[in-house]
């Protein structure tokens, strides 16, 4: 038993020993495998997993970029960033949110509506996300909050920036305004999409919108370590953002403000342009509104007030308003007739107050007629009869060519304002294509006095005037100051150089033919738009007469001081066809319903001796140009010329100043 036992015991021992040995060898192999896997993960693929681990734990928070400023010509900020006092709460860090929020409500005197909005917002976000109680605390509220701060733990008064327009309604249509980026903004502009943070304000219209990519700036970045649930644990890194480009405009705030003042309570537009550099000194559309209202989301009442205003403050009349130019087109009609040798300045017409043509009666604005008038007189007194006859001889197509050359029927800015309208200068071809009907000769007559199909924007009229006033040269209208802008002297030199070339080169006439339709502005810049400069000079002289000679339509608005003396042309464009019966009535303006009243227009340039500036004034349903629009020019020219000296002084001091 014992010996047998020990035998089996020995055999058992040897079996188990042998098998344990095999097992041990296997164990070594397996441990080797584990070490190999550790090596593979930790040494070979370390970089990959380190990246993945950082991706896990690090989150970047983009900070809103600070928007670039807009400055006027003198470097005054016309759209900037205001320090605003905000109130933030991180609900998670607050012991009793409900008590706190009620206390804050009492201190800030929030109304029930705002309060429930805050509660709603709080419920929609994560407890560790910042809850903005107020985006814009008044100074009083800010002081009050700071006074009670010790008992409001978890409440953070924060200094932030917000867009501000210090000149309120003055620059609204030019600059546009900013508001919270919409889904549409994000899909249309990659730059916005890239830089978007909740609450980012982007340009909605005007220059704020078209220059968005320059203005927007660079996001600052805060890098946080977060845990698996996305909660921020601590800040790792902070990269400062970069403020967007500041953009200096050509506009002159004094002039702009004067325009706003002149147009007060009226619907209309005033534009002022440097006739050589093309600088827009002012461009105002009225009525306007305060763009600051849009910053924190406009209130319902304010929005309704703007929307329901019958004078439509949202429309930028200067570039999107299309109106018949009325008699302000006459200088171009006259120029076209002279350029095409249709008439000589001595051509005379006897005006009896109306003219019968093609079986229809065409009336002159002056019922009793102007008698026998030549071209100069016709422009001076704005005789419609003369222009009917002249247009009949000229034909609409030749008029179209000249008008387009001088800037009508084309966008004034190529791409800055995407809402800008083209306008319409009719031609026989246009009518056939657009309306499918042949041109009727009678339509030529009314086109010749700026009625009918023809439609222009107030700014187009301003450009037209500028290009006449500078002697008939193409200029480049602009609102943004660039470092490489040519100076007045350089442009003048270029123009005379180009004139010289034209006189010497016989082919020049032909090259000019397609000028009006050419899309590239740069090619023809500062080139003559005329065939014979004498014709331009004649028209300018006639415009002088219209303002500064007795019987001229804007004689009463003249300035005799040579320094301010200007020349202009009135325009009164009909909104509605006037029946014979109405004409007989000869109603006073106050007796006609507002929507039926004539538009009042005035184009002018000055100082007459050495013209530098052109302007166009448009008053919607303002009555006659001579009585409503021209007096404004008189007031405005004083400011424009006075500011000219200021601008020259500023230029001397800041030769390379851009922004």
């Amino acid at each position: 038993m014992i010996s047998g036992g020990s035998d089996t015991s020995y055999r058992k021992q040897s079996v188990v020993g042998r098998r344990m040995f095999i097992l041990s060898a296997a164990k070594l192999v397996v441990f080797g495998g584990i070490i190999a896997q550790l090596f593979s993960l930790q040494i070979n693929q370390n970089k990959k997993y380190l990246t993945l681990s950082d991706k896990n734990r690090l989150r970047e928070w983009k900070l809103p970029p600070i928007r670039g400023d807009f400055q006027d010509f003198f470097g005054n900020t016309i759209a900037g960033n205001l320090k605003v006092y905000q109130l933030h709460i991180i609900p998670e860090q607050v012991e009793n949110f409900n008590n706190l929020i009620i206390r804050v409500k009492d201190i800030l005197e929030l109304d029930q509506n705002t309060f429930s909005k805050i509660i709603k917002k709080k419920n929609s976000q994560k407890p560790w996300e910042t809850l903005i109680i107020s985006e814009n605390l008044s100074w009083d509220q800010f002081v009050k909050i700071n006074f009670y701060l010790h008992e409001l733990s978890g409440v953070k008064p924060v200094l932030s920036v917000a867009r501000s327009y210090p000149y309120n309604e003055n620059y609204t249509h030019l600059l546009g305004y900013v508001a919270q980026a919409s889904q549409k903004d994000l899909t249309n502009n990659d730059e916005i999409k890239k830089k978007h943070v909740p609450g980012l304000r982007v340009g909605k219209i005007g220059l704020e919108r078209s220059l968005e990519n320059d203005l927007i700036g660079m996001n600052g970045v805060q890098r946080y370590e977060v845990n698996a649930y996305g909660k921020r644990i601590n800040q790792i890194d902070h990269i400062e953002g970069q403020k967007g480009k500041s953009i200096r405009l050509t506009v002159d705030t004094k002039i702009q403000q004067k325009c706003n003042e002149l147009l007060k309570d009226r619907a209309g537009s005033i534009s002022v342009m440097d006739i050589y550099t093309g600088d827009i000194l002012a461009m105002h559309s009225s009525p306007s509104f305060d763009p600051n209202l849009f910053l924190y989301g406009i209130s319902y009442e304010n929005w309704e007030a703007i929307r329901n205003n019958p004078k439509k403050p949202l429309i930028n009349r200067s570039i999107t308003g299309l109106y018949p130019p009325g008699s302000t087109i006459k200088p171009i009609v006259a120029l076209s007739a002279l350029e095409n040798n249709i008439i000589s300045p001595n051509f005379k017409v006897n005006c009896s107050g109306k003219i019968e043509m093609y079986g229809q009666t065409y009336n002159c604005w002056k019922k009793e007629g102007h008698g026998v008038v030549n071209l100069r007189d016709a422009l001076k007194v704005s005789c419609d009869t003369y222009f009917y006859e002249m247009s009949r001889r000229l034909g609409v197509d030749r008029l179209n060519e000249t008008a387009k050359k001088f800037g009508l029927g084309n966008k004034v800015f190529n791409d800055i304002f995407n809402e800008e309208k083209v306008g319409l200068v009719p031609s026989t071809e246009w009518k056939k294509n657009a309306l499918g009907r042949g041109w009727v000769l009678g339509e030529t007559l009314i086109t010749g006095i700026g009625q009918g199909y023809i439609q222009t924007t107030p700014l187009q009229l301003c450009l037209m005037t500028a290009q006449l006033a500078n002697g008939g040269f193409k200029i480049n209208p602009k609102v943004i100051v660039n470092k490489d802008d040519l100076t007045f002297e350089e442009i003048k030199f270029k123009m005379s150089e180009n004139l010289e070339k034209k006189i010497q080169g016989p082919d020049f006439d032909n090259a000019l033919v397609d000028l009006g339709t050419s899309s590239s502005k740069e090619d023809n810049l500062f080139n003559p738009l005329f065939r014979n400069q004498e014709n331009v000079k004649f028209v300018l002289e006639a415009m002088f007469a219209s303002t500064n000679e007795v019987r001229g339509t804007s004689y009463s608005s003249r300035i005799e001081d040579k320094k301010y003396q200007f020349a202009g042309k009135t325009g009164t464009s009909q909104v509605k066809r006037i029946t014979e019966a109405q004409r007989e009535l000869d109603l006073d303006i106050s007796q006609i319903p507002y929507e039926d009243r004539d538009h009042a227009l005035y184009i002018a340039f000055g100082p007459y001796k050495n013209p530098r500036y052109a302007m166009s004034i448009f008053i919607e349903h303002g009555g006659s140009g001579g009585s409503t629009a021209a007096p404004m020019a008189k007031k405005l020219f004083k400011v424009v010329i006075d500011q000219h000296e200021e601008r020259e002084k500023f230029k001397q001091k800041n030769i390379n100043f851009v922004a």
Binding site: Y49, L52, N56
Partner: protein, 374 residues
Amino acid sequence: MFQETALSGQITFFQKLRSLDYILLFCLLILGLISSLSMYSTEGGEVLYHTKSHVIRFIVFFSMMLIFSFVNLKLWHSIGYIFYFVVLCLLIWASLYGVKASGSQRWVDLYFINLQPSELMKVAIIMCFAKFYHRTQIHLVNSFKNIIVPMVVLIVPILLVVSQPDLGTSILIGLSGLVVLWLSGVNAKYFIYSSLILLISLPFVISFLKPYQKLRILTFFNPDRDPLGAGYQIIQSKIAVGSGGLSGKGFLKGTQSYLDFLPEKHTDFIFTLFSEEHGFIGSVLLLFLYAIIIYRTAKIGASARSFFGKLFCYGFASSIFIYVTVNMSMVLGLLPIVGSPLPIMSYGGSSMLATMIGFSVVMSTKIYQKQIIA
């Protein structure tokens, strides 16, 4: 018979004390220290609930192990079956009246401790088989009866544990049992045949698995299938280990761990945390520590005269090896995720208790290495 008593009578307390395996004890203490520090790290460098109870458990169970080491190996031998049956009863108790937690019913409420009998079964099965084969003569090992009985003894607790459900522990119990069967001389062909049968029946077995278990297997083969769901654990674990690099992110600096990306970091994924903080060097050293423990345990077995002691030590050493391998392979993405703790390192009282009971028997084998058990 007389000889034995005389022999045992000769051993004084100091002799016993001297014959303890101090290298093994030292390694276990080091492991206890490492595990406590790791637990401290899981709590973000604060001594909180887990650290406290882990340290207390380690001290209590380690002391208990020291005391139990002096228990005569004969006593361990004599309670071999009883221990198995008690644990089996506890398993049945657990599946009938056990404490439910996170979808499975594994615990028995013993008032002072929530015991997980399946963990104890991991040791009990080894003790039971050691006794069984101690008494079985070598030429009878492969007899029909001696194959069927151990199979039943092994399969019953496995089924009970699977039904809890706890796939991981049942696999570990199965492997521990099988390794003892292998060591005790069961014909190799049975292992080969049964592996073949298992392989063939695998599709059927899978069809019986719970949906979450199936998902885990699918996820193992392609963790990116569902990176935020079932694949999340393994992906995050690999990121943690991989980002540790050569020397690790440093103690208490494991970002995956303290930012809560790591799941189950106290228990099954404690090695991941350790590996993230101490890198390749640390991980290899820890593995080396386990290797020493396994080696010392096996060495005690080699020098034991009694077959019970030898088989238990070999079996227990192999089990420790299996636990370590399965756990590490799992967190390193070499095996599917099944619940399996890393001995002593992982948080868990029952696991610690079972391990320490095992080492008590190992130490007892060392002290009574010359003893022969009839």
